[in-house]
């Protein structure tokens, strides 16, 4: 049982308008059977300070990451998690969060790894909801337990590992980090020095398009024309390309993955969630410093093509 799409005109320009809902739509649909609203933030306490009525909370760090291995939770853990949030396999899930939906997009990407069909973003996230003057509640989370099926994660379609990136060299790569991280001036994101690496720079040939450029000042996604200018004209991406996006731990790049896949309609985009914290610490992988993409060393194009 899925809930009707938001047919707001501002979404019609995108390749997959069904992946976005507006504040008006959500306000009107709160409490609709078959809809579960999920908040996913960088700040683990933000939900507790006030959230959209009826929303449940899923935290990227304490819920979606495996507590021991550097990986996502498995099918059984995912079923248990989302089942405890009242989500069924055919539930329409609308995710929203802080910081231009950065972590909301990350959660959406993880839902997609498990093949959850109908998962959407609230355009503009918390910031837009608040600037529109809409209400929050501090009521504690409540959900009716469901029996979500155990579905194994599919890591092949939208997820890339380090080995996949090495084999991919020569095809389009999008580095969505800040220009300072891209050039190698710094090994960490501005204001994120705790996630440091051993080497700085970027993967050879990667185009630098900082993730936040896809968002307008009010936190909503930019228009298709603006996004085309950024990614198709600016970064040279084309339909049919095999594309890998990466950042530091895969969160900012899941935002870009969302934009490329659902707004621009590029198919075959994968997110390299190991990202720079893995690449910048790995032995014997090529790195380029400076603000230019740089070329893939021939050694890598030759050894890996055969």
């Amino acid at each position: 049982m899925t809930v009707e799409n938001d047919t707001a005109p501002q979404f019609a320009q995108f390749a997959h308008p069904e992946r976005l809902v507006s504040g008006d739509w959500l306000q009107a649909h709160l409490g609709t059977p078959g809809l579960v609203v999920v908040e996913s933030d960088e700040d683990v306490l933000l939900y507790e300070t006030g959230h959209i009525e009826g929303a449940v909370k899923i935290d990227w760090h304490t819920d979606l990451n495996d507590p021991v291995e550097r990986d996502y939770i498995d099918g059984e853990q995912f079923a248990k998690l989302v089942g405890s949030k009242g989500i069924d396999r055919d539930t329409t899930v609308v995710i929203y969060g802080d910081k231009n939906n950065w972590w909301a997009a990350y959660a959406l990407w993880v839902f997609t790894l498990f093949g959850h069909e109908d998962v959407r973003l609230l355009d503009g996230g918390r910031a837009k909801w608040e600037s529109d003057g809409r209400a929050y509640t501090t009521a504690p989370e409540s959900a009716t337990l469901t029996e979500y099926p155990v579905v194994e994660r599919d890591d092949t379609a939208i997820r890339a590992f380090k080995e996949d990136v090495l084999a991919h060299l020569g095809n389009p790569l999008i580095d969505v980090r800040s220009p300072e991280e891209f050039s190698g001036e710094r090994t960490t994101a501005p204001a994120y020095p705790e996630e440091s690496t051993l080497r700085a720079g970027h993967i050879p040939s990667a185009q630098n398009v900082p993730w936040g450029k896809a968002a307008a000042d009010d936190g909503t996604f930019r228009s298709l024309t603006e996004l085309d200018a950024l990614y198709r004209v600016g970064a040279g991406l084309n339909d049919g390309d095999d594309i890998i996006a990466y950042c530091r731990i895969g969160e900012r790049s899941s935002h870009t993955w969302f934009v490329l896949t659902y707004l621009l309609g590029l198919e075959g985009v994968r997110n390299y969630d190991g990202s720079w914290t893995e690449w910048g610490a790995a032995v014997r992988v090529p790195i380029v410093k400076g603000s230019e993409p740089g070329a893939v060393p021939s050694k890598w194009t030759q050894t890996l093509r055969n």
Partner: protein, 146 residues
């Protein structure tokens, strides 16, 4: 673990957190967050005095005062969109209240990891509080050096 010399308020805060279920620890952290006092009048117009804690994911600024009786006063400010960071700052500002410079310098650097929050908010995030404590100590050392 070095528990023997922990000042009473810090020990009390730790016991309060450890006595709760993981989920409830977040609620207590939120209470701390809400209790973070406004900056005193004399500092409100002086952002230049405050040091940004770069290790925190959200903007948080601290300023440490050591008075003539060698008592430490920690002032911190962080936006309401960053309740976790506010909570960290509030724990330290309450936990260190009334302590002497020497006592604060004696607080174990790993105190933030011992209060049961690593599971509730994750190890990565708790590093923000570790950095807050480290920078507080550094400011005290600088201010008591002369």
């Amino acid at each position: 673990m070095t528990t023997e010399q922990l000042p009473a308020q810090l020990e009390q805060i730790r016991e309060d957190f450890l006595g709760l279920e993981v989920r409830e620890r977040l609620q207590l952290l939120l209470e701390f967050s809400n209790e973070l006092p406004e900056l005193p009048e004399r500092y409100r117009e002086h952002p230049d005095l405050f040091e940004r804690v770069e290790e925190c994911q959200s903007p948080v600024f601290i300023f440490v005062e050591v008075d003539e009786s060698s008592i430490v006063h920690l002032f911190a400010t962080a936006p309401k969109e960053a309740p976790t960071t506010r909570g960290f700052a509030s724990i330290l500002s309450q936990g260190l209240a009334g302590l002497t410079a020497e006592q604060v310098l004696g607080v174990p650097d790993d105190y933030p990891q011992t209060i049961g929050l690593t599971e509730a908010v994750s190890l990565l995030r708790i590093r923000g509080m570790t950095a807050l404590l480290a920078r507080t100590k550094r400011q005290i050392r600088e201010k008591t050096a002369s």
